[in-house]
């Protein structure tokens, strides 16, 4: 790997995005609008908003980055630019790290705005530090990038790539404890939710919500999300083949 090539790749991905301001606006505004909506949907029960709002701060970056990365890498595969890059002296790690850096930067902007809005304007009541919310949000964005990259290898078209979102994200959304605490679910479902990374993203957010300090559980949750992201990124790297049929 080469730092200059990684940075050049990240700069290129961001430059591509800059030519598409509508996508940037959607990525950044939609989470804020959703939080605003939820705040007033749960107008009568602020506690519900606290719990769901904090969870969503972790889920938004995951979903957005999943979608953006799966489409972007699929375009790279189908446009022939991936084949061209892999015929050039570019390490697979440079490409993946470049994407992760570029979308990570975007995720920081998205998370800062969404977290800031939720905590300061919408009165989301967090006991812990808002910085920890941000940290989990960033790890979630990385996980979303990793999943998107991995899944794009199995999609033959952008149409299929979008269909992977309900397949990969929705089951995690239902089982992650957003609707009901995970330990109150049917034991089989709880067991399944124990191996899904989004569950730990939501658990981590709830730890920050309820505890003033960094708890052991929080560290464990954050580490699991980070480890999953790295694992899936490595799997994604394995799907980039220099030689293809």
């Amino acid at each position: 790997m080469n730092l200059h090539r990684t940075l050049a790749t990240a700069a290129r991905v961001l430059r591509q995005l800059r030519h598409d301001p509508r996508s940037i606006a959607l990525m950044i505004l939609v989470p804020c609008v959703m939080l605003l909506l939820l705040r007033y949907v749960f107008d009568g029960s602020p506690q519900t908003f606290d719990s769901i709002g904090a969870s969503l701060l972790g889920i938004f970056p995951l979903i957005t980055m999943f979608l953006v990365t799966s489409i972007a890498t699929l375009r790279e595969r189908t446009s022939g630019t991936l084949e061209r890059l892999l015929a050039m002296p570019l390490a697979k790690g440079d490409l993946i790290a470049g994407y992760a850096l570029a979308f990570g930067a975007l995720a920081v902007v998205q998370s800062v705005l969404a977290t800031g809005l939720a905590v300061w304007a919408l009165g989301l009541d967090v006991t812990g530090s808002a910085w920890l919310l941000l940290l989990v949000a960033l790890l979630d964005a990385l996980l979303g990038t990793a999943l998107g990259l991995f899944v794009s290898a199995f999609a033959a078209s952008e149409f299929q790539a979008v269909q992977f979102m309900p397949a990969v994200i929705f089951p995690q959304l239902v089982l992650c404890g957003l609707f009901t605490p995970r330990d109150k679910m049917q034991p089989v479902l709880e067991a399944i939710s124990n191996v899904l990374p989004m569950s730990y993203a939501v658990d981590g957010m709830n730890e920050v919500l309820r505890h003033p300090d960094v708890t052991g559980d929080f560290v464990r949750d954050a580490a699991i999300v980070a480890a999953c992201a790295v694992l899936v990124l490595a799997l994604g790297a394995a799907t980039l083949r220099r030689r293809t049929a």
């Binding site: 290129r12 446009s79 630019t81 061209r84 002296p89 220099r242 049929a245």
Partner: protein
């Protein structure tokens, strides 16, 4: 109208220049259940334009992908610039243009080239200055200076394929592999590109392997590889081919060879 600047560094003449640029021996490629290339043996000489001609679906693209090292399931011997095809050391020495223009539509022409140049020759300072020169030269080579700041996606089909060609010209590669670079271009542009290929081969000593399914382009090559159904029908100069088959054109020579092969 195409400006050819001299290469930034002249290539060191070495003893290696006596070996062919590409040497294949019983080269076989399988794609799924199909054998796309069947035991090909041929050599491509250095510093010349070798045309790879044959009907679409005969295996031209597969052969080119094998040479640049992006094709899977390649068996037999395939040496490119004295290294086995696909060796990492070759990646900066070969320029490759795929059949469909592989550039980023949401970047400008210059941004596209700057990125690929940074992948080829990373670094800051003098490396960045040299890259800037290289990019400007490549854009001038394909006559897109006036469109340097236009988004690639807003260009016409012919212009986009020239952006793709410009990327392959970055870094003065020793071998250019061009997969149907003139398909869909108007006659004037086709003539200009062929003039560019000849200038690159003559001035920079670059070896060019170029595919086409338009037989009249064959006359412009130094040597020809005629392909059909995964096999090589002929490996000769255009003149020798016409003489051998007593034909007026390369197209007639090709048809003659096909009939001959079918009769066997």
């Amino acid at each position: 109208m195409m400006n050819i600047a001299s290469p930034p560094q002249t290539q060191a003449a070495s003893a290696a220049t006596t070996t062919p640029a590409i040497r294949a021996e019983s080269l076989t490629v399988e794609r799924g259940p199909r054998t796309v290339l069947r035991g090909l043996t041929f050599a491509v000489p250095r510093g010349q334009i070798t045309g790879l001609l044959g009907p679409s679906g005969c295996g031209k693209s597969t052969l080119m992908r094998s040479v640049v090292g992006t094709q899977a399931k390649v068996t037999g011997t395939l040496d490119v610039l004295d290294h086995p095809a696909g060796t990492p050391a070759l990646r900066s020495r070969i320029g490759y243009v795929t059949q469909d223009p592989s550039v980023y539509d949401d970047l400008t022409v210059r941004q596209n080239l700057e990125y690929f140049a940074a992948v080829l020759a990373p670094g800051r300072g003098t490396a960045a200055a040299r890259r800037h020169e290289d990019v400007t030269r490549a854009i001038a080579d394909v006559d897109l200076t006036a469109h340097a700041d236009a988004l690639a996606g807003n260009l016409s089909g012919g212009q986009r394929s020239r952006v793709s060609l410009a990327v392959a010209l970055l870094g003065t590669p020793e071998l250019l592999v061009l997969d149907e670079p003139t398909v869909g271009l108007d006659p004037v542009l086709r003539r200009d590109l062929w003039n560019l290929f000849h200038a690159i081969a003559a001035d920079r000593g670059t070896t060019i392997l170029v595919s086409s399914h338009v037989m009249d382009e064959a006359e412009r090559c130094h040597r020809l590889l005629l392909m059909r159904e995964g096999e090589i029908l002929a490996d000769d100069t255009p003149d020798a081919l016409r003489t051998r088959t007593a034909s007026e054109t390369v197209e007639a020579a090709f048809l003659h060879l096909v009939d001959e092969a079918n009769a066997r």
